[in-house]
């Protein structure tokens, strides 16, 4: 599970947030909410290990499975357990093609992805054309296609914790449905996640927890059950 304890962050003299504590357990999706400039993306960068918090800590804790472990224990290198998708960027090497990009990020995390699985995944995200897969630089993709490729990369990841900052940016209806399916499967497998999205309707049925940021302090609440 992902555990944030008494997190605080300030830029120069301005406090963006403080005393932020929450826990995200396997199968849960935490929705970070708040107005523009409230510090949601900064909080996400802190969770991803890009920014050091001024106060508090972020831990990834393994819950006891009754066999290997009997007590909850923090992992020494949380980066292995966390996959981050930033807002308005996808982490693509723009001069390289889709396959080169996906293979690189997979190998960097120790995932050897079979070719047929790659093809199936790209097909699911509507990127399965030989020109798109091989030799066609990602910089020529549309905004939505770049996002779909980033989500395809995420769907092949074995990291249990997803940090998603505005993942729906630029996606069409079909890609949003695919995203919902992918995220639901991830949560059903015992994965967990934190999401920022101003577009709340597509994620309404997936979110289990809500954290509102806007006032200096923030508190975690269970998401209301949608009808």
């Amino acid at each position: 599970m992902l555990k944030a304890t008494q997190l605080g962050f300030s830029f120069r003299s301005r406090h963006l947030f403080r005393n932020v504590s929450f826990t995200v357990r396997p199968g849960q999706l935490l929705h970070l909410r708040g107005p523009n400039g409230a510090g949601k993306t900064t909080l996400m960068a802190v969770l991803a290990g890009l920014l050091a918090p001024v106060h508090g800590s972020v831990d990834y804790v393994i819950e006891p499975d009754g066999k290997r472990t009997t007590e909850a224990e923090g992992v020494p290198d949380p980066k292995r357990w966390i996959e981050y998708l930033p807002a308005e960027a996808n982490g693509h090497f723009l001069r390289m093609d889709a396959l080169t990009n996906i293979r690189f990020w997979g190998k960097l995390r120790g995932h050897t992805i079979p070719e047929d699985q790659l093809t199936v995944t790209l097909r699911a995200w509507d990127l399965d054309h030989k020109w798109l897969r091989f030799g066609f630089p990602v910089e020529k993709f549309s905004t939505g296609m770049k996002r779909r490729l980033a989500l395809a990369r995420l769907s092949l990841s074995e990291a249990p914790c997803f940090l998603l900052d505005e993942p729906l940016y630029g996606l069409d209806d079909a890609a949003i449905k695919m995203f919902q399916t992918m995220l639901r499967a991830h949560l059903n497998r015992g994965g967990l996640g934190v999401i920022i999205s101003h577009d709340t309707v597509p994620i309404r049925d997936l979110v289990t927890e809500v954290l509102a940021i806007g006032s200096v302090a923030a508190s975690q609440q269970h998401a209301p059950v949608s009808s």
């Binding site: 290990g49 393994i62 980066k79 292995r80 001069r95 190998k107 074995e158 015992g190």
Partner: protein, 241 residues
């Protein structure tokens, strides 16, 4: 009871595998954007030809000195262009930040970029040096001795150690346009001085092995300092700030 996704331990990538990935991805980035290698080469060729054209026929007693001064100056500037852009593919689409969120050894990252810089640096250094020799009617045989080869390798090693570190600093610094030349120029001066002196002895060969060894030791000393600094400081540049 089967483990859930959150309990299953993700795979570990060894240091060697990470290093190989960084180098191969870097080579792919260079091949995908050949202008990055071509522009320092064209710059070097232009400067060399311009110098040769301006200086005309040089007094034979000064020929080696002029050749070395001109070649090392050109090399220094051309490599500066190349090194400053070593992280350019990583700046696109926040690749650099995404790599910082991956379980990647900072030493493997630094070493990978360093090897990449050695490869691209050699591809700039060799043609520049041979063109310089050609323009100044230098006999090619002294350029190919082990003394000259070792001097050039140690020079490239020192410049690359600093180049990767300072290039990474520009990724994080606010004054990114100014920081590279501001630090790179003064810090590389001792490397260049030792390199020029050792090269002159290697080419002319009238000061004996002891003087050559002294300059080479100084060059190697700065290499060790800059490489160690690079390994140590690069980690702090990619860690959360």
């Amino acid at each position: 009871m089967s483990l859930t996704s959150a309990q299953r331990t993700p795979p570990v990538v060894s240091f060697g595998q990470q290093l190989k990935l960084i180098v191969t991805q870097g080579v792919r980035a260079e091949l995908a954007d050949r202008e990055r290698l071509l522009s320092p080469l064209l710059f070097a060729a232009t400067i060399m030809i311009l110098f040769a054209f301006t200086l005309g026929d040089v007094d034979p007693s000064f020929r080696v000195k002029v050749f070395l001064a001109q070649t090392f100056l050109t090399l220094f500037l051309a490599l500066q262009i190349s090194f400053a852009r070593i992280f350019e593919p990583d700046t696109q689409d926040r690749v650099f930040d995404l790599m910082r969120t991956c379980p990647l050894h900072s030493e493997a990252w630094y070493l990978g970029k360093f090897i990449l810089v050695l490869i691209t640096g050699t591809l700039i250094l060799l043609p520049t040096f041979l063109l310089g020799g050609l323009l100044h009617s230098q006999d090619a045989s002294p350029l190919l001795t082990w003394q000259m080869t070792l001097t050039l390798f140690l020079t490239l090693f020192g410049l690359a150690s600093l180049g990767v570190l300072l290039s990474a600093m520009t990724m994080r610094a606010l004054a990114r346009q100014i920081i590279f030349p501001l630090l790179y120029f003064p810090l590389t001066t001792p490397v260049l001085l030792a390199a020029v002196q050792a090269s002159e002895i290697a080419l002319v060969g009238n000061s004996g092995d002891e003087t050559f060894n002294a300059w080479l030791t100084l060059l190697a000393g700065f290499d060790v300092i800059y490489f160690t600094l690079g390994i140590l400081l690069f980690g702090s540049l990619v860690e959360p700030s």
